[in-house]
Amino acid sequence: MKSFIKEIIAYMNARKKWWLMPILVVLIAFGALLVLAQGSAIAPFIYTIF
């Protein structure tokens, strides 16, 4: 997780998209809730999701 956070910060810095950070945090938190509710990471194949 530590290296992931480091990577995210490096990416934000490179892309100059700091405005995305609060949205990212909220969406990831929301997404995490969905993970907990679902318990599975299997999704149907939709071209652009991946």
Binding site: E7, F30, V35, A41
Partner: protein, 611 residues
């Protein structure tokens, strides 16, 4: 310097190994796992690449992944934000996968790579290229050009759906991009979906179906779906599509425009699907021609390189070659995402590390795209014996003569020789061959051997020096990525027979002296065969030419519908025994069906999921 390229976790995972900027091994994971379009980490393909060079992972200088996961996630989030609350269903599906798995792709890659025997240090060797940078690198660096315009087009990578780069020596600079959701590849995939075929594999079928139809809907597509600008750039009206935020490719508005819901897979194909296929094909060709003409004018460079899934549209490629403004066109044989593995490695070597590039001037550095595994004769014999095959071993000359005789007798011949091809086309390494003069060959191969739709055409392999005698094509086409018309002098007069026929019925009329490879619009997807890159295949076609006066054979991939192309002699024998193939040639071993133990045949037709 050794660089390993990897593409994975999307579709068509692959690994590629380059040494001092030259491809030395590359293969798709599906060939080893026998799972079509396998998207998993390419463990077996990496193992093969290392084994081919006789090294372990610690000997690799750099490992380059073919795309940047964070950029892709950024695209997803921004797309969802832009369409709130419409994209919630798609968001609900996508987030668990990303949060549990895809956001941690770097860690996952490191972990998987460290599991290899004698892996050494991995983390500091790992680099990431952008998706379209990988495609562009795969198109330019192996090409025979010192300088070129590189056009890449596909469904979508991170953000880009099309890119233009200028390549000079070892430099590759992106100068233009079209970004998601505006995508020519996704427009083609939307029609693929709407006509009842599977996105990501059915696009070939749409292209094959197009000549049966009339482009009746082309104007409608241009009026409503796509706005094509003078320079070939375009804009898609998203209200007709659902791929950006939904779980289908097209929207209700799309159905209303064309007056019906999408066709269900395996339903009867009607004239309507054929007309839709012809229409999207016509629009695709128009965009590609406009775009390449504009690029030739803008940059004044005479060489064009193509890659990305759209570059597998060999009908459009053929028109760019014949009608376009570039003097020379080179298409990467693994133009799809598997080729991204090779491109990533090349981008690492030339762009990131700034290594010197030398160009031979005539030949590309793809080695005929024969970059996969090879089996030596003693190994082939022991593997076939183990599988229970009954075979005779012939010397080279007798083998070519005997195989040519089988072809002349109307046999469908499995031909397994040398290294496996990298890319979606079988090029005489893992092929099923037939006599192109035989009017029944097309139907036999489709229905009894490949178990696939009867409308699908077959391609000719022709001795390279004979190509302009049989087709309206000058130059080479070693990777079967260019479609050209059969030359007038070899066409047959179909008289009145043809006038009242529509759709699939057109297939029943022989249109040339080589009907098995002549499509209903007199086109053919040509492979020129060169002694320098595939001497055995060249020798076989030469023997067939000596016996029959015809320098062409029918060449289709060695598999059945839904099956990855065969990789090992055992795969080839299983496919041979499970289909109505008459003869199998693996290395110098020749097998005839009646001589085999029939109890070894298995139900092969239903073994693979339909594509």
């Amino acid at each position: 310097m050794l660089i390993l390229g990897i593409s994975a976790f999307y579709h068509d995972s692959a690994a590629a190994l380059i040494e001092d900027g030259i491809p030395i091994a590359a293969a798709q994971e599906e060939r080893f796992t026998r799972k079509k379009h396998d998207a998993g980490f390419p463990t077996l393909a990496v193992e093969y690449c290392l084994k081919e060079r006789g090294i372990t992972l610690k000997d690799i200088d750099h490992i380059v992944f073919f795309e940047k996961p964070f950029l892709k996630f950024e695209r997803l989030l921004e797309t969802y934000l832009a369409s709130v609350p419409k994209g919630f269903n798609s968001f609900r599906m996508a987030m668990p996968v990303w949060i549990k798995d895809k956001l941690f792709q770097k860690d996952k890659l490191i972990k998987l790579l460290e599991e290899f025997e004698d892996a050494g240090e991995v983390e500091n060797k790992l680099l990431f290229a952008e998706h379209h940078q990988s495609h562009a690198a795969s198109a330019f660096f192996p090409s025979p050009f010192e300088e070129a315009v590189i056009l890449t087009m596909d469904g979508v990578g991170e953000w880009a759906t099309a890119s233009v780069a200028i390549g000079k020596g070892n430099e590759l600079k992106t100068v233009r991009e079209i970004k998601f959701p505006h995508s020519l590849g996704l427009l083609y995939s939307a029609i693929t979906y709407y006509t009842g075929f599977r996105v990501n594999s059915g696009e070939y079928k749409v292209m094959g179906l197009a000549p049966y139809g009339e482009p009746k809907y082309a104007d409608m597509i241009k009026e409503h779906l796509i706005d094509i600008k003078e320079d070939g750039s375009f804009w898609l009206d998203q209200s007709y599509f659902n791929y950006a935020t939904g779980l289908t490719m097209t929207s209700k508005k799309f159905d209303d425009l064309f007056g019906a819901p999408p066709r269900t897979a395996e339903d009867k194909i009607t004239q309507r699907e054929m007309d839709l296929a012809a229409s999207v094909q016509a629009v695709t060709e128009e965009v590609m021609l406009k775009m390449t003409d504009n690029l030739a004018k803008t940059y004044g460079i005479k060489n064009l390189c193509l890659a990305g899934g759209v570059a597998l549209n060999c009908v459009a490629n053929g028109r760019i070659v014949r009608e376009g403004s570039f003097d020379n066109v080179w298409v990467q044989p693994a133009a799809g995402d598997a080729g991204g593995a090779l491109g990533a490695a090349l981008a690492g070597y030339y762009t990131e590390l700034g290594q010197l590039r030398t160009v031979s001037g005539t030949m590309d550095s793809m080695k005929g795209s024969y970059l996969g595994p090879e089996y030596k004769q003693p190994d082939i014999e022991s593997r076939l014996k183990e599988a229970g095959a009954v075979f005779e071993t012939l010397d080279d000359d007798a083998l070519m003569q005997e195989t040519a005789k089988c072809l002349e007798q109307g046999h469908a011949v499995g031909w397994f020789q040398g290294r496996m091809e990298f890319g979606p086309r079988a090029l005489g390494g893992r092929s099923i061959l037939g006599d192109p003069r035989n009017p029944k060959m097309q139907k036999t191969l489709n229905l009894k051997i490949k178990y696939r739709e009867s409308f699908r055409p077959f391609a000719p392999s022709i001795l390279s020096d004979q190509v302009s005698n049989y087709f309206d094509h000058k130059g080479t086409s070693p990777y079967m990525l260019i479609v050209a018309p059969v030359a007038e002098q070899h066409r047959l007069d179909t008289g009145d027979q043809d006038k009242d026929l529509f759709g699939i019925d057109k297939l029943n009329i022989p249109r040339s002296e080589i009907p098995a490879i002549t499509h209903v619009d007199y086109s053919a997807r040509i492979q020129t065969v060169h002694e320098e890159t595939n001497p055995r295949y060249h020798a076989l076609i030469s023997a067939f030419n000596e016996q029959t006066g015809c320098p062409i054979v029918v060449n289709t991939s060695f598999n059945v519908r839904g099956e990855p192309i065969v990789c090992t002699p055992e795969d080839a024998f299983r496919c041979f025994m499970g289909t109505e193939m008459d003869t199998l040639v693996v290395g110098n071993c020749l097998m005839r069906k009646p001589a085999q133990d029939q109890s070894l045949s298995e139900d092969y037709k239903d073994k693979f999921d339909l594509d």
